[in-house]
């Protein structure tokens, strides 16, 4: 009895003692790094089962003793261990580990942890692309990705932009595993995109992807969400920048007035009164004519028979806004409806969007309809099926193109400055006949060179309808623990029909009507099967491997037909109505390929990763006895912040990668043929093609090395990503230009070697992060230098584009120089830097001189997102330094007397266009060929027509800083909407193409300051094609403002 009591008492005493200690209550608040409390966080005394969760305010209270360790954890955050000290209040701040566990979609749609990737890639959220609701995917990407240069298409047209990724344009666009054209992507349906930049990143795609892949993942309904959203925006755009025109002199070739001479033999008697009236030189399409001083004259529309203006004398006065008056306010409106529902084992989403877009150019419009549907179902817990279907239907009326002879060419190169655009619009088509400002004479209403601009837009119409249907169908099957299979088929079918007509009527420039029609049909089918294996071998070591097979096929048929010799029955636009045998041609392309690939990834302790991949490709386009190529890559990444603990560094990774990616030759490149020419009557004609085909053409190869470092500081508030790449392309199949006297202008050989190096930097930070305000800024910057190392033995130059100007300027590749050199005529300077002149006063010049390099030195952008409570302000800026192109608009606007520099005062204070003998003219200083001093004045028209072929006068430095996008939005609180059917409303003001903040404003020679004209960030492809070396006539840029409303139900 006695002993039991002792034991009991001792036990009770110990228990009481323990209880006494345990009963110390520790409490505090658990919050994240921005001070926001975390409800539902778990607080456990380490090593025990004693645990609590934080309440709605993030507050916890737990019994623990001094010296115990509290383990605080929360999903998505790094678990923290805190030792209890003397204080009973312990507040814990948890750091988000989002950045470390971020998951990225990589090649073939495989998701990987970002930290494990050893190559450069960049992820852009879909919402970042749709801030200002741009329709063109490539334009939406401008300034957001390091290493991507966007050459915008002229913004008052439908021309799409072009992208150079690390200097190459053959980037692949993949949407949910389907290869798409960049013009068929519905940006509103994008959840996120991953830009895989180098050959190592894209190695699993094979040869066609070596210049980069933009992997786009569409929005999908997430588990537990049900929604209907309606989104609408209306945007108005107006021309924002016009070429600098002079408004002092009107149309004509010289400043003296011609007068009407009444001819009683041929003119009606009433015309006797017109004798002696001032007659402008209507037939001139230049503006070197009389001064716009209000002199009464017979303008072009005063000769329209039966018109109220007939016989009217009107002042010869300036109309500075005539070109601007041609354009209207363009309106774009887009409405989309999406709905989606997701559950634990299914997901379904559908969206439809209708867009109407009318350009600032009159009578040009485009309707686009997009439908995107995707769904997936987990039929069993091991078997998931998924499918997606996309359709885009587009109808364009009067696609306006750039290039010489286009509308902009008319206004800025060949025009009369005094013309009244309203009168042109009202009178160009009167009583069934057409009238132009460019009539041949007072008595002859036929045009000399130009119809009225409205005639071009309203009579010579064209139409283009295209549709793209694409979709995929596949399944994932979990075979066993860690082993899964994926099989997928996808297809894309594209169909385009287009037609255009050449109208004729009374007094039209063209006297032969015409009609042409074309159709382009293409389809691509792919099949893929893949086996994945994922296993943690030890608790530190894990392996991911895959092996797969792919087959693909592509077909296209391009047909075009046009009338010849006119239309037999007028105004009946069909090919059968052709007077002579219509022109007709068809072009077919077929190719197919097979591939087998595998990759292995090893990870050690989430700190060290090593990846390798290998892929075989076979293609029908290669020589039949040698049609296999191998692509392989090796990448490694080392997360050094796990090993070395640095203050303030929350993440640090070193990456290195190497890849070899061979290339296949183009379809039919190895198949030599003769070209068909125009027949003579019933006799067919053939011609030997100018490029000698090479039946043994093989693939060249790209070798790329990349090094990178990524670091994040200050709780991920600041981060940077730096990449250096070095790429060498060798044995490339290329059409090398040869001396024409060999019989060929090009040979198809495997010999070219080029190399590119560059640095890409991405800086991102969150300078302000409080409960109400958050400000994220990111800056990206990239340099690129692409050199031509070798072309062919004995050949040092390859001409890429020739005859870009009337002086045989061309774009060349030259061994030892940067790629893309413009060569042409350059004004001559003597050894002392003086201009050398001919006796005529024109600049002496030398042919075949280096004018400059078309590629920029660096490109980049700044993105800023500021949120304050419910407001958000997003700003996008992109910039470029360097880049050069030749401007035909500058050239002819000077030669035709339209440019403001051709008028105004010279350095003597006299009108430049006054006769030189009276103190006018442009001052020219230099020397003559014999060395004697040249100091004289030259009439502006003589200067312009004497020097227009000197290409170095018209080079444009395309450096710019552009404020591209601004969005100001307000997001309603969901609790404020509880009485409405909506669960979310977002209203935003959006603006695009807002301003050029910085550009070149000097001609760089005696011409002095240069008033900005065409937007340097825009360049149409209508003149120099895909090389963007020259502008032949381009429509001006347009600025847009609009409103976007997004409703969520």
């Amino acid at each position: 009895m006695k002993t039991n009591l002792k034991k009991f008492l001792a036990l009770s005493f110990m228990i009481m003692f323990q209880w006494g200690l345990a009963q110390t209550s520790v409490s505090g608040t658990v919050s994240d790094s921005s001070g926001v409390p975390l409800p539902g966080a778990t607080v456990i005394v380490a090593g025990t089962s004693n645990g609590v969760t934080t309440d709605f305010d993030g507050v916890y209270s737990i019994s623990a003793s001094e010296g115990d360790v509290l383990s605080v954890s929360y999903v998505g955050f790094v678990t923290q261990n805190v030792t209890i000290g003397a204080s009973a209040t312990i507040n814990v701040t948890l750091v988000s580990d989002n950045a470390l566990e971020e998951v990225v979609v990589t090649a073939l749609g495989i998701t990987r942890e970002a930290k494990s990737l050893g190559y450069a890639q960049q992820k852009v959220e879909g919402s970042a692309l749709t801030k200002t609701k741009e329709l063109d995917f490539k334009t939406a990407l401008a300034g957001k990705v390091a290493g991507v240069q966007v050459i915008s298409g002229p913004s008052s047209t439908f021309e799409s932009s072009a992208i150079r990724l690390r200097g190459e344009q053959d980037v692949l666009y993949v949407v949910d595993g389907i290869k798409m054209s960049s013009t068929d992507i519905n940006t509103d349906n994008i959840d996120n995109i991953t830009i895989l930049k180098g050959a190592a990143a894209t190695a699993l795609y094979g040869a066609e992807a070596r210049s980069g892949v933009i992997v786009i993942t569409s929005k999908k309904a997430k588990a537990g969400e049900t929604y209907i959203t309606v989104d609408h925006n209306t945007v108005a755009s107006n021309i924002s920048r016009l070429h600098p025109y002079q408004n002092e002199y009107g149309g004509g070739y010289d400043q003296s007035w011609d007068t009407f001479a009444y001819n009683p033999a041929t003119d009606p008697a009433s015309w006797a009164a017109f004798n002696g009236q001032n007659i402008p030189y209507y037939a001139a399409d230049e503006s070197w004519g009389p001064r716009l001083d209000g002199t009464l004259a017979r303008h072009w529309d005063s000769w329209i028979p039966n018109h109220p203006n007939f016989g009217e004398l009107r002042g010869w006065s300036p109309n500075p806004n005539n070109v601007k008056n041609f354009f209207e306010t363009g309106m774009k409106s887009a409405t989309s409806v999406s709905f989606g529902k997701g559950g634990d084992d299914y997901s379904f989403r559908a969206t439809g969007r209708a867009t109407q877009n009318a350009l600032p150019v009159p009578n040009a419009s485009r309707d686009t309809y997009d439908v995107n549907i995707n769904g997936s179902v987990d039929l069993t817990d091991k078997f998931t099926m998924y499918t997606s279907l996309n359709a885009r239907i587009q109808n364009t009326d009067n696609f306006v193109s750039s290039g010489y002879g286009s509308l902009q060419g008319n206004f800025s190169q060949w025009w009369q400055r005094q013309l009244d655009m309203d009168r042109l619009r009202d009178n160009y088509h009167y009583e069934g006949a057409f009238y132009t400002w460019n009539r041949r004479s007072a008595r002859n209403a036929r045009p000399q060179y130009w119809d009225a601009p409205h005639y071009e837009q309203y009579q010579n119409t064209n139409n283009n309808e295209n549709s793209t249907y694409s979709g995929n169908f596949g399944f994932d099957y979990q075979i066993a623990d860690g082993v899964s299979a994926n099989v997928e088929v996808n297809r894309r079918a594209y169909n385009r029909t287009s037609n255009s007509r050449n109208y004729i009527g009374k007094n039209t420039l063209s006297t032969q009507a015409g009609y042409s029609e074309g159709s382009f049909v293409s389809e691509q089918n792919e099949f893929r099967a893949r086996l994945n294996y994922s296993k943690a071998i030890t608790d530190k070591f894990d392996v991911n491997a895959l092996v797969g097979y792919a087959a693909k096929q592509f077909r296209s048929i391009n047909t075009s037909a046009s009338t010849s010799g006119g239309l037999a029955i007028p105004d009946f636009y069909t090919i059968a109505n052709s007077v002579d045998k219509p022109g007709y041609s068809t072009y077919r392309t077929n190719n197919s390929g097979r591939a087998a690939y595998s990759s292995v990834s090893l990870g050690y302790d989430s700190m060290l990763y090593l990846d390798g991949s290998y892929r075989f490709d076979w293609s029908s386009t290669a020589a039949a006895d040698n049609n296999r190529i191998e692509t392989y890559s090796l990448t490694g990444s080392f997360l050094f912040d796990k090993l070395v603990n640095l203050d303030g560094v929350t993440f640090g990774k070193l990456r290195a990668s190497y890849a070899e990616a061979p290339i296949f030759p183009g379809t039919y490149a190895t198949s030599p043929t003769f070209g068909s020419g125009t027949a003579y009557g019933s006799l067919a004609s053939l011609a030997v093609p100018n490029t000698l085909a090479n039946p043994q053409l093989t693939g060249g190869i790209r070798k790329e090395t990349e090094y990178g470092i990524e670091m994040k500081f200050l709780n991920n508030r600041l981060g940077f990503d730096l990449t250096y790449f070095d790429r060498e392309d060798s044995g490339l199949p290329v059409a090398v230009s040869a001396a024409g006297s060999t019989g060929y202008t090009g040979l198809s050989v495997n010999s070219k070697i080029t190399s590119s190096t560059g640095v890409e930097v991405m800086l991102s930070g969150t300078p302000i992060q409080t409960e109400d305000v958050r400000w994220d800024v990111s800056v990206n910057f990239a340099t690129l230098e692409k050199m031509v190392d070798f072309i062919y033995p004995g050949i040092e130059r390859n001409i890429l584009n020739s005859w870009l100007s009337w002086s045989s300027m061309d774009l060349q590749e030259i061994v030892g120089e940067e790629w893309g050199m413009l060569y042409g005529r350059k004004r001559l300077k003597d050894d002392n830097g003086n201009w050398v002149y001919y006796a005529s006063g024109n600049h002496r010049y030398e042919n075949n001189q280096l004018l400059g390099n078309v590629m920029p030195n660096y490109t980049g952008g700044i993105t800023s997102n500021l949120t304050y409570k419910n407001w958000d302000l997003a700003i996008g800026i992109d910039f470029q330094d360097g880049g050069l192109y030749h401007s035909v608009t500058d050239m002819f606007s000077m030669a035709a007397g339209l440019h403001e520099w051709t008028a105004g005062k010279n350095d003597k204070g006299n009108q430049k266009r006054d006769p030189v003998s009276a103190g006018g003219g442009i001052h020219q200083v230099g020397v003559y060929a014999d060395g004697s001093v040249a100091d004289f004045y030259r009439a502006p028209d003589s200067w312009a027509w004497g020097n227009w072929t000197r290409d170095d006068l018209w080079l444009v430095d395309a450096s710019f800083v552009k404020l591209r996008q601004v969005r100001l939005g307000y997001n309603f609180d969901s609790d404020k909407l509880s009485n409405t059917p909506f669960t979310g409303i977002d209203i935003a003001l959006i603006g695009t193409n807002l301003a050029i903040l910085s550009e070149t404003t000097d001609w760089g020679d005696y011409r002095g300051a240069k008033t900005p004209g065409l937007d340097p960030s825009e360049l149409g492809s209508g003149w120099s094609g895909g090389n963007y070396a020259s502008e032949g006539g381009q429509l001006p840029s347009a600025r847009s403002f609009g409103l976007n409303v997004a409703l969520k139900f």
Partner: protein, 487 residues
């Protein structure tokens, strides 16, 4: 489960290995280009090459301008010799390569495969003759050009420039060879002469005669020999034999002059020609120019002349920015710009042949029929008949014309070669009559161009040979004379 996994992995590994062991995959005919034929049809190649002749005989790039037959109305830079560099690549890569391919295929062991287009002899003969025709124009324009080393593709990437004397020697030999090939075995695709060997012989010999006359100053004996050999072979004998490119009325093969005037009016008869014809009361004035549309307004810049009840005015030649309305000057004849099937595309005319005979007599070459004066008059009459002047008017003109001499013969030949741009310019350079004044607003050079400069692409793609050729001529510009142009 484990066996299942093993099975699947095994299967996939085996299939992968199968693929891995495949060196190539057979895609069958997929890469055979369905859009063009891979086997040549030599007849069609000849058709294609012939279709390049209009760009020579109806060309407006400088030939007709330098000879001052035609003036530009508004954009006069070419009349003022603005372009110095001209590119000959288009000839070599286009028709010359097509013709060389016909020759190569007929010389190869598979020649029989191409027999559907005609006999080997006809194919080679005609191909050689057309090749020489074009090379002749090329060398007369540029001087030293690639000839013996040209058209060899990848076997000779940098053809050397042969001196013009070598080119002429080579061309004459090539004509002789070609003439010997012509066996009358038919030729399909020949829309010029329909396989008629006799006509081709006539073409070849007339061409030889013209070439011979070109050489008359630099190689009199060689020229005389070639001339006599040409006559022996048979040259044109009347206007019925005139070799004019057969334009059609259909758009695809119509006269390029028609296309130039479809919506623009850039060219007119030059004042040099109109004033000359008027001063000599030459009835061809009404055929060489159209009456002006409206002869009113500023007469200070234009010379109006009255002839046959109509007013004519030649467009002042070689004046930059003249500011003259198209309606005030005489256009090119409507027989060329609106019809063009029979004018504006002459290769060789009987008038040319007559004048060559006259010149041969003036040079004292022996053993030739007739005499200088007779041939001279025959040439003038032939030219008038060619342009549709009535015999009465032609005879009246003949009565007033000065007796034959090198100067008068050259001047009449210049008039007769109207619209035969390259011939007119070459003959004027050689004969130096009539006296032509260079353009008043010449932009380059020191006078009327004596040759075309080599193009920019040749300068860069064949640099060494180009520079070597340039070093041999006196100065790099169009003022230096070609080999046969001695003064």
């Amino acid at each position: 489960m484990k066996t299942q996994i093993q099975k699947i992995i095994g299967l996939l590994t085996i299939s992968s290995l199968l693929f891995v062991s495949c060196e190539t995959v057979d895609f069958g005919d997929e890469n055979l280009n369905p859009n063009s034929i891979s086997k040549a049809n030599t007849g069609a190649l000849i058709t294609g090459a012939m279709r390049n002749i209009p760009s020579i005989v109806s060309n407006v790039d400088s030939g007709v301008l330098y000879a001052q037959h035609v003036s530009e109305i508004t954009y006069n830079e070419e009349s003022c010799y603005e372009t110095i560099q001209w590119n000959f690549d288009g000839f070599y890569t286009g028709p010359l390569m097509d013709l060389q391919t016909v020759i190569n295929l007929n010389n190869s062991e598979n020649a029989a495969e191409y027999s559907s287009s005609g006999s080997v002899g006809m194919q080679k003969g005609v191909a050689h003759l057309l090749k020489v025709y074009m090379m002749h124009v090329i060398t007369d324009r540029w001087g030293a050009v690639p000839y013996s080393e040209a058209l060899q593709g990848v076997d000779n990437l940098k053809p050397a420039f042969d001196d013009q004397s070598a080119v002429y020697a080579g061309m004459l030999a090539e004509i002789d060879a070609a003439l010997s090939f012509l066996d009358g075995g038919g030729l399909s695709g020949d829309f010029m002469f329909n396989g008629d060997a006799a006509k081709w012989r006539q073409f070849g010999n007339t061409m030889k005669m013209v070439m011979a006359m070109r050489m008359a100053d630099v190689d009199p004996s060689g020229a005389e020999a070639a001339f006599k050999s040409a006559i022996a072979g048979g040259v044109l004998t009347s206007n019925a034999d005139n070799i004019h490119y057969p334009y059609t009325t259909a758009d695809d093969n119509d006269n390029p002059w028609q296309d130039r005037f479809q919506s623009r009016e850039d060219y007119a008869a030059s004042d040099v020609m109109v004033d000359h014809l008027f001063a000599n009361s030459d009835p061809r004035l009404a055929k060489y120019a159209e009456p002006v549309v409206s002869a009113t307004g500023d007469t200070s810049k234009i010379d109006y002349v009255e002839y046959g009840g109509s007013t004519y005015a030649g467009m002042p030649y070689g004046v930059l920015n003249p500011g003259i309305l198209q309606t005030r000057v005489s256009f090119l004849p409507s027989s060329i710009i609106y019809d063009g099937t029979n004018a504006g595309g002459m290769l060789y005319s009987y008038a040319q042949v007559c004048f060559s005979y006259a010149e041969a007599h003036l040079r004292g070459w022996s053993g030739l029929a007739g005499d200088a004066q007779t041939w001279y008059e025959l040439g003038i009459a032939a030219s008038h008949a060619q342009w549709g002047v009535s015999t009465a008017d032609a005879t009246a003109y003949l009565g007033s014309v000065a007796p034959v001499s090198m100067e008068t013969m050259a001047t009449e030949k210049w008039v007769a070669l109207y619209m035969q741009g390259w011939e007119a310019w070459s003959e004027w350079r050689r004969l130096d009559y009539p006296i032509l004044t260079p353009a008043a607003d010449a932009l380059t050079g020191t006078g009327i161009p004596m040759r075309n400069g080599y193009g920019a692409t040749t300068a860069s793609a064949n640099k060494a040979n180009h520079d070597a050729a340039v070093a041999k001529i006196s100065g790099y510009n169009q003022d230096s004379k070609v080999w046969w142009d001695t003064k």
